[in-house]
Symmetry: C3
Subunit: 140 residues, 3 copies
Amino acid sequence: MPLWKIYHPVGAFTAEDKHAFAHKITKLYGMLPKFYVDVIFQEIPSDSFYIGGEPAGAFIRVSIEHIARTLSDDQKAWWLELTNEAIAPFVKDRGFNWEFHIDETPFDLWSVQGYRPPPADSEDEKRWARENKPSPRTHS
Amino acid sequence: MPLWKIYHPVGAFTAEDKHAFAHKITKLYGMLPKFYVDVIFQEIPSDSFYIGGEPAGAFIRVSIEHIARTLSDDQKAWWLELTNEAIAPFVKDRGFNWEFHIDETPFDLWSVQGYRPPPADSEDEKRWARENKPSPRTHS
Amino acid sequence: MPLWKIYHPVGAFTAEDKHAFAHKITKLYGMLPKFYVDVIFQEIPSDSFYIGGEPAGAFIRVSIEHIARTLSDDQKAWWLELTNEAIAPFVKDRGFNWEFHIDETPFDLWSVQGYRPPPADSEDEKRWARENKPSPRTHS
């Protein structure tokens, strides 16, 4: 469900950094089957990345789509804070500037390995989480 | 309208594959002017693509935006199935794992070649489909 | 807030072009703090970019996300026109075909440099605009 796209300067992260960062993001979504968490890192050359009309420099822009869950109004500030904490070691603590936003897209327009994912917190979702892979539903 | 972004491992598709895949996607949207269907393939290096915190491997992630049409609730499961069928020869049948989701974005915030696209199934849309290019509206 | 992704043919723009284009986009959003305007240029190889199942050729596809503001219904046509005017020198006037769409994503799921951006037209937003950087809110 969450699809993270992390736009970053060339060379900002090593392969090990990216692996660790993706692992950290996956832990942030501990309530979900792990394999729901997709992370794509994309290097943006310095002459292709601008903020306010000027080269973005040491800036990381994260674009997040949530599909499996919708945040209620009173969860939103809390979730932004959790997200900022989760990414800090890879972003703030390394001296990068950063920005992120989350979009929420329709649960019913989502398909994993040909399956429609089971409802939130259902028995089937728990099984998907346990087995860390999609499979036919066993509950209606 | 539909904008497909296909994130895939390096070397997953030849130029011929991509052409055929884009053609197949265009046929899926046979109710629309062909030129509404935009497909972007993007190679993701193996150290930049993660699922559940681990390298994604033989995984294809498709991100789809629909603009010209909105699916009604009773069309959604059917459309997901059609989409899975359309992509199977390029994805499932080649041994890739895959996931896709669709977002629906506002029709009224869309512009093609400087024109606002005509309403769904209107005379103007039929003409755009016939001519396979945008042009000024001839109906209000 | 606005995040622009500009998908373009390889070599369509020089670094100077991109800088000037990003500057023009920032001016389009003159009501916002400049640093809200993020622009990412992405080259798409000719064998990875399709319209209607055929190679896209001299085509530029712009994908825009608005976060800080929501357009009212009677502003939409006007805003599309302003956008078309702003990009024309870099797109239409150079002989490219083009298409863009805007999605509006939730204001409350947005974080800049660890801060939640202040409400539209608030004193804090005016200060952020003046200082061209985020900082703690001084008004509730």
